[in-house]
C-alpha cells in the first residue's frame, strides 16, 4: 500500500476550479507537448468592448493550446470565466472556430486531432450581440465537422457553468464531463425569473438551481457523461478516457427519438421533479457510452 492511500484525498488533490483557464488547459495536456496559439502577446482583442468603455483582454478570454493528451494530438480550448463571464465575442468565437477547423483539416489529412473544450461561459457576449450569436452558430458548425473524425470533449468544471447558446455547444459534443460545482442549461435561473416570473423560477432558491442545472443532476439524468471531483488529476484522467474511447456510436444530439419520446411522456401540468428524470431517463443512455475507437 502506498503512502498516498492513507492521506485523505482532499489533502493531496489539486483543485481544477481554482485554476485560471490557461492553467486548466495546461493541466490536461502532456507536459512539454503544447504550444499556445494566438496567445495574449498577439493582442487580438475585442474591438467592440473599448467602444463601450469596457476594458478588453489580450486573449479575449479564450486560450487555445495545441499538443497531445496521452499521446493523442489534441487542441484544448479554454474559456476564462473571470473575463466577461466567459462570454463569446467576435474574437473568442473566431479563435474557437479556427482551431476546430484546423483540427478537422488535420484529421482529414491523416493526423486525427481531437478537441477538448473547457466551457465556463454565460453564452453570447451581449456587448457584441449579433457577432457573438453568429460565432456560436459557427463554433457549432465547426464541431459538427470535426465530430465526424475525432471526439470533441466538453468539460464544465464550474463555477460559472455553461449557459446560453454555449449550452448547445456542450449538447453537440461527443462527451460532457462535469463536476458537482458545475451547472449546465440554456437559460439561467435569473433569466427565467425575469422573463417568466418568480413563480416559474425563484432564482434565490439555490437548492432548486442545483437540483435542475447541477452536474450531479445532468449526469444523473444521462444528458452528461461523467461526474467528477474538483481534482485536476481526476479530470485529466477522465478526458484521457474519452479520447481513448474515441467517437461514441451515436452522438447524444442525434438520438432524436429517444428524447422526443422522453418529452412526450412528461406530465406538463405541473413542474417536473428533477429526480424522476434521473430515474426514468438515465438507464436509456447506455448506448452512447460504448464508444468505438
Amino acid at each position: 500500500m502506498s503512502v498516498a492511500t492513507v492521506i485523505p484525498a482532499f489533502v493531496t488533490r489539486e483543485s481544477f476550479i481554482e485554476l485560471e483557464a490557461r492553467d486548466r488547459a495546461q493541466a490536461l495536456m502532456d507536459p512539454g507537448s503544447w504550444r499556445e496559439l494566438v496567445g495574449p502577446f498577439d493582442r487580438i482583442e475585442s474591438p467592440w468592448l473599448p467602444m463601450q468603455s469596457i476594458a478588453p483582454q489580450s486573449d479575449d478570454g479564450c486560450v487555445v493550446l495545441k499538443g497531445t493528451i496521452a499521446g493523442q494530438a489534441t487542441v484544448v480550448i479554454a474559456l476564462e470565466g473571470g473575463f466577461q463571464a466567459g462570454s463569446i465575442g467576435e474574437v473568442s468565437g473566431a479563435k474557437m472556430t479556427a482551431a476546430l477547423d484546423l483540427a478537422t483539416h488535420d484529421s482529414e489529412n491523416g493526423r486525427k486531432t481531437a478537441a477538448v473544450l473547457l466551457l465556463e461561459t454565460g453564452g453570447v457576449r451581449l456587448q457584441e450581440a449579433n457577432l457573438g450569436l453568429a460565432a456560436i452558430a459557427e463554433v457549432m458548425a465547426s464541431i459538427f465537422a470535426l465530430r465526424q473524425h475525432a471526439p470533441v470533449v466538453t468539460v464544465i468544471a464550474g463555477t460559472v457553468g455553461c449557459f446560453g447558446g454555449m449550452s448547445l455547444v456542450a449538447g453537440i459534443s461527443s462527451y460532457i464531463l462535469m463536476t458537482r460545482e458545475a451547472r449546465l442549461g440554456l437559460n439561467g435561473a435569473e433569466v427565467i425569473e425575469q422573463e417568466s416570473g418568480i413563480e416559474e423560477f425563484d432564482s434565490s432558491d439555490r437548492a432548486l438551481i442545483w437540483a435542475v442545472f447541477g452536474g450531479e443532476q445532468r449526469v444523473g439524468m444521462g444528458v452528461a457523461d461523467e461526474l467528477l471531483q474538483d481534482d485536476a488529476k481526476e479530470i485529466a484522467a477522465a478526458v484521457q478516457r474519452c479520447l481513448k474511447v474515441g467517437l461514441p456510436v451515436v452522438h447524444r444530439s442525434q438520438q432524436i427519438d429517444l428524447y422526443r419520446d422522453g418529452i412526450a411522456a412528461l406530465d406538463t401540468s405541473q413542474q417536473i421533479e428533477p429526480l424522476t428524470l434521473r430515474k426514468n431517463w438515465n438507464n436509456k443512455q447506455a448506448k452512447t457510452k460504448e464508444g468505438s475507437a
Binding site: 485560471e20 495574449p40 502577446f41 473599448p50 468603455s53 476594458a55 489580450s58 476564462e80
Partner: protein, 98 residues
Amino acid sequence: MEQLKFDYPSANRWISKRAHVGIVGSGDMEVLMEPAETGSAHVSIQTSVNGFGSSWKAVLDRFFARFDGAVRIHINDAGATPGSVMLRLEQAVEVIEQ
C-alpha cells in the same frame, strides 16, 4: 476608456523573458511584460476607469524606483486598486526573473 503612456528611460537592464499575469475581471487587470528592444521601459495602459492618470504615475514611479528592467508593459485594466496594480506588476517580475 482612457489610454495612458509612460516611459522610464532609467530602466535599462536587459531582460530576456516575457510574462502575462492577471485577468481583466472587475477590480482586476492583466499585465503583459516583454523585453523592450529600445533599452528603456515603456508602459501603455488601457483602462475602463477615467481620470486616474496621476495615480497610475505614482504607482509606476514606485515600481520603477525598484525595478530596472528594460521592458515593454501593456496593461488592460478594469478598475484595479493601486495595491492590486503593484501586486500584478510584482507577479509579472517574478515570472520574468525566474
